[in-house]
């Protein structure tokens, strides 16, 4: 095994251009270097990509930014590969797009942000559009794994509501077209829990022992207890995290389970009276059981947006833009949100929804926070989550 200095020297020599790329690959493979690390280094060094690995400064969108004229993506391709969450699009959206453009769409689904991230990091996925949540989008862009949008193809961009323009995770919307948004709060049975819950303290209340669940996700669970103490959802402060851990372990004694959105069925059946859940899924469940209500915790909660992005090296970029432009149409955006139960970032569609999902009010916005990527703190969070699990 090489020493750290040897490998560091190797990378340095590459960056300084002393070593031909092919030699570097061979040498790095001999060292067992990661394909991912390799890929990103090569990208950063190669002449073809003018992009810096960091996202561009927040001043102005790329259209206005530069001397560099907008890229031309050439003629429309005949295929498009989409990789999205399951049940996260209206049933006729893809068919209508195919009919209108003649593009043949291959549509696959994934289960979690993290799985998507791991797959894109290794590369070779072949997808043209994927749908990460904000904080994952920022990781992808920081690793230079995304293609910047070419705004001239997005003629319907004007429909995006101001709330979703220039978000913190994607300054100047360089990479992402907002797709759906939601909040993470509490779904509860108003016939069982009286008075109605106000916030995250509910999960510490032994009165409802074994009748409550939280999401099986460290970001959501630890985040909730950070909020309970007035801290940031993405805190890296050891003292904050320690306090959140104490609360989480105390809550665990009351909780029936840490379980994802499949908890809906058990809220409907009455096995579970209160569950940490997203607003859209709560809305879907309340269609089956009207006593199910949604609480946006008073201490604050996560506000998230999933965006359509184009992975680096996607084979059908022009068609990807065509699809993005298609879903930015008010009628299409309306049909999608009507199906998913989540909010639409489309300002022209929001008033047309069958079941309204209004934008957060000024007062609510103060309580909401957008999750940031944890970066180096991810390890500390994981340790904490493991400790909670082992407690």
């Amino acid at each position: 095994m090489p020493t750290k200095k040897e490998t560091d020297d190797l990378f340095k020599s590459l960056i300084e251009g002393r070593l031909p790329r092919r030699d570097f690959i061979r040498a790095a493979l001999a060292f067992g270097a990661s394909a991912t690390a390799l890929g990103s280094v090569l990208e950063a060094c190669s002449g073809e990509t003018a992009e810096a690995p960091k996202p561009p400064p927040p001043s102005g969108p790329p259209t206005a930014a530069g001397p560099a004229p907008e890229a031309d993506l050439g003629p429309m391709e005949t295929e498009l590969n989409i990789y999205n969450w399951s049940d996260y699009i209206a049933e006729d959206t893809v068919a209508n797009f195919e009919k209108e453009t003649g593009v043949k769409v291959k549509y696959d689904t994934y289960e979690s942000n993290e799985e998507l991230l791991a797959k894109l990091q290794v590369g070779g996925s072949g997808y043209d559009i994927v749908v990460p949540t904000g904080y994952i989008l920022s990781v992808l862009s920081a690793q230079n794994l995304l293609e910047p949008l070419v705004k001239k193809y997005l003629t319907n961009w004007k429909n995006v509501a101001p709330l979703f323009v220039n978000p913190t995770f994607d300054p100047s919307n360089t990479f992402g077209v907002p797709w759906q948004w939601g909040t993470t709060g509490i779904a509860y049975r108003s016939d069982k829990i009286t008075p109605p819950p106000e916030g995250w303290a509910l999960f510490l209340d032994a009165k409802y022992k074994n009748k409550m669940t939280m999401l099986n996700d460290e970001r959501d669970v630890i985040g909730a207890f950070l909020k309970l103490r007035g801290k940031s959802l993405s805190s890296a402060d050891p003292a904050d995290l320690e306090a959140a851990k104490t609360d989480a372990i105390a809550a665990k004694a009351n909780l029936k389970a840490f379980i994802s959105a499949e908890v809906k069925g058990q809220v409907v059946s009455g096995d579970v009276w209160a569950a940490q859940l997203w607003n859209g899924d709560t809305a879907q469940a309340s269609k089956e059981e009207p006593n199910i209500k949604y609480c946006l915790p008073k201490e604050g909660a996560a506000f998230w947006t999933d965006s359509l992005v184009i992975p680096k090296g996607a084979p059908h970029k022009r068609a990807a833009h065509a699809f993005m432009d298609f879903i930015l149409r008010p009628d299409v955006a309306t049909s999608i949100s009507d199906f998913t139960g989540y909010g639409t970032p489309n300002a022209e569609a929001v008033a047309k929804l069958a079941v309204p999902v209004p934008y957060p009010t000024e007062e609510e916005l103060k309580r909401l926070e957008i999750q940031k990527d944890l970066g180096k703190a991810a390890q500390a969070w994981d340790q904490l989550w493991t400790e909670i699990g082992a407690a």
């Binding site: 095994m1 029936k256 096995d271």
Partner: protein, 297 residues
């Protein structure tokens, strides 16, 4: 040269080169495993000595920190817990699986169909099966409703999201791994031996423990390994039926490659478990070969 002569020549050559023959049989499978399993695994082994990449993957460098980190009592406790669960699961599978294999192997009719019925549940999706089990076990589920209506209990028994549910799910998922190899070794059992023993006045229990069980030992061992080892890595059952309240090695590794984005630590944890299993298997194989040699003498 006519085909027959060619065949004879080939056979003669193989007679002279016994070891070559062995390698000829091994080569295709070993080659496949070498290229598509061992080679990628070696990349991962390399990863386990490299610093964690902030966003996933690894960075250049060399470190032993991931192996050192595993010495934390937190992880030792998780490993211990996992070993315990897998052992219990293996024992329960043995006790439930052996009789099934035995009865099916002795069946005169429908033997293949009965065998197939053991594996049939696994041709449906794991998740749909698990959700069916959740429906049975939950507070207002079928079992509790039935028991309450029959007047056996007043209050529902909490079964779902308990260690009991996890064990039930594990056993359910691994029983066929026990039944199949035991069946394969029992099916060839020479019944005349048992009949002879009966004629000589051996009681049923004696016949079983002195003849059937020893002869089916290879199947039992294979079954135990096929249950114990994959059970060590299971993670979804404890998530879905245990409500993620108990973290096992499988969950730990899964988390390292997803939320924690610590690929090298995930690899290191995997290799530690692999080394333990490999060590145990080697010890067992040595003992077995010794036993065979002694038996042969």
């Amino acid at each position: 040269m006519n085909p027959f002569a060619l065949r004879q020549a080939a056979l003669r050559w193989f007679h002279r080169h016994k070891e070559t023959q062995a390698w000829a049989l091994l080569a295709p499978g070993f080659g496949w495993l070498g290229v598509f399993f061992l080679a990628p695994l070696l990349i991962m082994f390399g990863y386990s000595f490299m610093p964690r990449g902030e966003y996933g993957g690894v960075e250049a460098g060399f470190t032993l920190e991931h192996y050192a980190r595993f010495a934390d009592p937190l992880y030792i406790k998780i490993l211990w817990r996992t070993l315990l669960d897998s052992t219990v699961c293996t024992l329960i599978c043995l006790v439930t699986g052996y009789p099934v294999a035995y009865v099916v192997a002795r069946a005169t009719k429908w033997r293949n169909f009965l065998m197939f019925l053991v594996i049939l549940p696994f041709w449906t999706s794991f998740l749909v099966r698990t959700f069916a089990m959740i429906f049975l076990l939950r507070d207002t589920g079928l079992v509790n409703t039935l028991l309450i209506n029959l007047g056996v209990i007043q209050e529902p028994i909490i079964m779902l999201y308990t260690p009991f549910a996890v064990m039930l799910g594990l056993v359910y998922g691994f029983v066929p791994f026990m039944v199949l190899p035991i069946y394969a070794s029992l099916e060839k059992l020479d019944l005349s031996l048992l009949e002879a023993a009966e004629v000589l006045g051996a009681r049923p229990a004696e016949r079983f423990f002195r003849i059937t069980l020893p002869l089916s030992m290879p199947g039992v061992v294979a079954g135990c390994l096929l249950v114990f080892i994959p059970a060590l890595g299971s993670f979804l059952t404890s998530d879905l039926l245990g409500g993620a309240k108990e973290i096992l090695i499988g969950n730990l590794v899964q988390n390292q490659f997803t939320t924690a984005r610590n690929w090298p630590f995930g690899s290191a944890a995997s290799f530690i478990v692999m080394a333990l299993v490999l060590l145990a298997v080697m010890i067992y194989l040595r003992a077995r070969d010794r036993g065979n040699e002694l038996g042969a003498q």
